[in-house]
Amino acid sequence: MAEIADAFATAWRLIASGDAVLLEIVSLSLRVSAAALVLAALIGLPLGAFLGVARFPGRRVLVALLSTGMALPPVVVGLGLYLVFSREGPLGAYELLFTPSAMVIAQALLVMPIVASLTRQTIEDMAREYDEQLRAFGASRLRAAATLLVEARYSLPTALLAGLGRAIAEVGAVMIVGGNIAHVTRTMTTAIVLHSSRGDTPLALALGMILVALAALVNGATEGLREVARRAGA
């Protein structure tokens, strides 16, 4: 028991003193996951909105694929990308393996289906209310999708935060394509795996505490947005 208490105390000191290694890892994690979220949002928001309003053959298959994508095991995505990025792989020439860029792409692949699926659901629900009005205005399907994205501005951040949560907590994909190289591709989750396996619990614990705090922050932001939306009468 005393050992665990000691570990917590050391972990707290690491956080409080702003330990350089710790900060470096947290900073890289946040930058990788934020970049992945931006990439996923650039694709997922318009794709989800389009699927929410459009009707075409194959749409149901696409929707089902995206839903499946929400539950993709990160290690499998990591393995797939590892093969694609490896020297003999189709994108081997770009030398992305074991770089932060590879990690961004991996997390974007994990997050995009979440953003797209949740956006699709939100926009489809809204379209039921707006469809006839927008047609009466003479809006095209694409224009309607863009308008509904704006109309859903208070609910869509929830989809983005769900994506961010997945990205930042994920370990399998960044471990494989990033390689957990110190100072280069070491994120909070891969560092926790490494340090706890080495028995260096304080740093692992410190990172764990930061991860939990981030999750709480994301959740708080989601709740805050709902409150803003309620006050705006939306």
Binding site: E129, Y130, E132, Q133, R135, A136, F137, G138, A139, R143, T147, V150, E151, R153, Y154, A232, G233, A234
Partner: protein
């Protein structure tokens, strides 16, 4: 109210009226909801589609505005391509959906869709918000307004499109008397600018106040199209007589 008189300009440019229904029927799930409608809507005044609930009034408006296509027959505009006709009319739905943005932005939205230049849009928005007595609410989120005010926002939005023909579906269905009066004042102002209005109502008193002609609909059929003064004095059809007498029609 700074409302420039555009009626002269409209007459010379008027291209879409009359609107003609020829042999129009509408069927859904093998039930004929509207049968063999044939009538013409001429420029000028307010034509009221009158009839009990379920007579098919809203359906006629949706067919006329192109939101629905007839199962048989044709809806024709005189001397206009489809695109021009679409831009020359506007419709206010019975439950208009306002966007989650300011009142002014709501009015602006369909104007922007039609590619009207920004300066012209701002002028139109200011004009119709003034004319519907909504100018004070221009920057308020539209969905925080009262039901009556929201209905006026929808009417202002349609008005800003400067339609030759304006469709209104039960515009005062859920409104109290003062909100109804505000709305009817605006509708008359739109008519006075030279726009043709075709509206539905099941409210006999409202029809008496507004109609220049009445199209009486009953069970999906058009029983008569009569100038308002004649209709209210001596309707030609038996169901219309009973409707005017205050009976409940099936």
């Amino acid at each position: 109210m700074p409302a420039p008189d555009r009626s002269a300009e409209r007459d010379s440019a008027s291209a879409i009226l009359p609107l003609t229904f020829s042999g129009v029927s509408f069927t859904a799930d093998e039930r004929t909801l509207l049968g063999e409608l044939a009538f013409q809507i001429e420029p000028g005044g307010i034509s009221v589609l009158l009839g009990p609930n379920g007579a098919g009034k809203s359906l006629v408006l949706r067919l006329a505005s192109g939101l629905l296509s007839p199962s048989r027959g044709a809806v024709r505009w005189l001397g206009a391509g489809a695109r021009r006709a679409r831009e020359a009319h506007a419709i206010v739905l019975q439950r208009p959906v306002l966007l989650r943005r300011s009142v002014a932005a709501n009015v602006d939205y369909p104007l922007a869709l039609r590619g009207i230049p920004r300066a012209e849009r701002a002028a139109r928005v200011a004009r119709v918000l003034g004319a519907t007595r909504l100018a004070a609410h221009a920057q308020r989120p539209a969905r925080t307004l009262s039901v009556g005010e929201q209905q006026r926002v929808a009417l202002a939005t349609a008005w800003a499109l400067e339609p030759e023909l304006l469709f209104l579906d039960e515009p005062a269905a859920a409104l109290d008397p003062s909100a109804t009066r505000e709305l009817e004042t605006a509708i008359c102002a739109i008519r006075d600018e030279g726009a043709k209005v075709l509206m539905t109502t099941h409210d006999l008193a409202q029809a008496r106040r507004l109609a220049s002609e009445v199209l009486f609909l009953h069970q999906g059929r058009l029983l008569e199209q009569t100038p308002a003064s004649e209709f209210f004095a001596a309707p030609r059809s038996e169901p219309a007589r009973r409707f005017l007498a205050g009976e409940l029609l099936e």
